[in-house]
């Protein structure tokens, strides 16, 4: 840090998942920011942004829930840091829509009984790391480079789409995750499914959909030679980690499929069952904090289903 430059500091909207099913994302985000000496202060009394279910059936409700949370965030100094891709997308969408549509803004302001605050910059953890903290400084801060770790960077849907809303990176060919991985000393792999949907919140209502879509993502990462997948969304993490064993049971024996029985297991489109290895799913903040020398015990590895420790030991990162 150059002398006299103000310490980076953010207000923080964790979101519901980070307080429960994605708790290790919250734990590792706090640990990482502490290690980088970046301030992070939780917004008091924040509540659910409505996520996909709210805008699915009631856009006005979705916009109002987010607008109220944005005005709560105004009480805390600093740009608003968001880790969850769904919360990030909803908060950015709300600012974008309400700036453009005055009628909707007035309705929302009536609903939240106060002015909509649309000017606080909302930033995803990825852009804070890559652009505000900066890739060069991030690379300098690395204490334990993630040498030899082949990572499939998975963007999913909401970090980049639709293009005018998140303003995070290119909507078809982003590179922010790979850039961060290189700065951490890891090796991002090239793969086909980094922006395909995992099935998201169908995990509750239609798990079969999730099994099919997430299986394609896991297979694509395996075929690209990845050791693990890195995500920045608690729903993507849940689908790829929590449901991975179920996916293996559902799609685990490629030879029993029609393709398998006709072409045998050397079909290049799928891996063989022996090769269908477990893929640990990391949050961006877990990998970054590990590279910054944060003790693995404080990164929430005990909470995940696919144990990442054997892989990390194998790569001499633990």
């Amino acid at each position: 840090m150059t002398p006299g430059k103000k310490k980076l500091s953010y207000s923080y909207y964790p979101g519901c998942s980070l307080h429960a099913s994605g708790r290790e994302y919250d734990i590792s985000t706090r640990a990482l920011f502490k290690a980088l000496n970046v301030g992070l202060k939780e917004v008091p009394d924040w509540f659910c942004c409505g996520a996909t279910p709210a805008h699915n059936v009631d856009e006005l409700l979705s916009l109002s829930l987010c607008a109220k949370n944005l005005s709560l965030a105004d009480q805390v100094e600093g740009d608003l840091a968001v880790a969850c891709a769904a919360c990030f997308s909803r908060l950015k969408t709300t600012q974008h829509h309400l700036k453009e549509d005055e009628t909707k803004r007035k309705q929302v302001e009536y609903a939240i009984d106060g002015p909509a605050s649309l000017n606080k910059p909302v930033k995803h953890i990825l852009e804070i790391l890559a652009r505000e903290y900066g890739l060069a400084k991030l690379e300098e801060s690395v204490k334990k480079p993630l040498m030899g770790l082949k990572v499939a960077a998975y963007y999913g849907c909401l970090l980049t789409r639709p293009p005018e809303v998140p303003e995070l990176d290119d909507c078809e060919d982003p590179s922010i995750m790979e850039d961060i991985l290189r700065a951490l000393g890891a090796e991002p792999v090239k793969w086909s499914h980094r922006m395909e949907c995992c099935g998201a919140n169908f995990t509750l209502s239609r798990p079969g959909v999730v099994l099919k879509l997430s299986n394609a993502i896991l297979e694509s990462a395996r075929l690209a030679g990845a050791d693990c997948i890195m995500v920045a969304c608690p729903l993507c993490h849940g689908n790829l980690d929590i449901r991975q064993k179920e996916i293996k049971e559902a799609y685990g024996a490629p030879d029993s499929t029609l393709f398998g029985s006709i072409f045998g297991s050397d079909l290049p489109l799928s891996t063989t069952s022996e090769d269908r290895r477990d893929l640990p799913i990391f949050y961006i903040t877990q990998l970054a904090a590990l590279a910054m020398g944060v003790a693995s015990q404080s990164l929430g590895f005990e909470s995940v289903i696919i144990d990442p420790k054997p892989l990390l030991r194998d790569k001499q990162l633990l």
């Binding site: 519901c16 998942s17 307080h19 429960a20 099913s21 994605g22 708790r23 009394d45 924040w46 509540f47 659910c48 409505g50 996520a51 996909t52 279910p53 709210a54 805008h55 699915n56 059936v57 009631d58 856009e59 006005l60 409700l61 109002s64 829930l65 109220k68 549509d101 309705q107 009536y110 609903a111 939240i112 009984d113 849907c157 909401l158 789409r161 639709p162 293009p163 909507c171 078809e172 395909e196 949907c197 099935g199 998201a200 919140n201 169908f202 509750l204 209502s205 239609r206 798990p207 959909v209 879509l213 929590i242 005990e302 909470s303 995940v304 289903i305």
Partner: protein, 194 residues
């Protein structure tokens, strides 16, 4: 229904419905020239009887009931690929939201009530607690959908991993949150909001 011959007339075309969809979504269906990019990129089109481009075509032809009666709108994952790739700036993801809202308001003829049930419980959770209570969401979903054994083995595992919390407290500002719901209902009652 899919392949049934369609007769277009004033009686079979509901233009009012399409106008409602356009007003709710802020997007025109008339701009679509059927290039099909939305359906080509849609991760869910294999689950749908009408792929996204056909949904827009049906709306252009005033066939709202056909769209609502099908399951396509309840299999849209809101991934926004269609909106991102449309060369004519048709916001198909917003149109899907509008269609679900209209089906929701009418307590729809949709066959896909599981998704509707999940959405309803999720929103109820916000109104009651402020933040999501995931254990309750899953448990009540299973009860109400009659799938008592769904993810039965997963629950205890996630509890032991700390990924589900047994108990959950309400937000201090739950009154403010209730106020948002109430005022939206009030605006709609007065016809001041869609």
């Amino acid at each position: 229904m899919k392949n049934k011959l369609m007769h277009l007339s004033n009686e079979t075309m509901n233009v009012g419905f399409v106008k409602k969809v356009e007003a709710l979504s802020g997007s025109s269906v008339r701009r679509c020239f059927q290039c099909g990019k939305c359906s080509a990129g849609c991760p869910m089109s294999t689950f749908m009887e009408h792929p996204p481009n056909r949904i827009v075509r049906l709306l252009q032809l005033g066939q709202g009931q056909r769209v609502l009666a099908g399951r396509s709108i309840w299999y849209c994952a809101s991934c926004e690929t269609c909106t991102t790739r449309c060369p004519n700036k048709v916001d198909l993801a917003a149109i899907m939201d509008a269609l679900r809202k209209l089906s929701w308001d009418a307590d729809g003829p949709s066959k896909e009530s599981y998704v509707q049930l999940a959405n309803r419980l999720f929103i109820e959770n916000i109104r009651t607690y402020g933040r999501q209570y995931e254990l309750r969401l899953g448990a009540i979903f299973n009860m109400k959908s009659g799938q008592f054994l769904k993810d039965l083995m997963l629950g205890p595992k996630l509890l032991s991993k700390g990924k589900l919390k047994m108990f959950h407290s309400k937000n201090r500002n739950i009154g403010d949150i209730e106020g948002i719901f109430k005022r939206i209902e009030e605006m709609r009652k007065k016809g001041e909001a869609l």
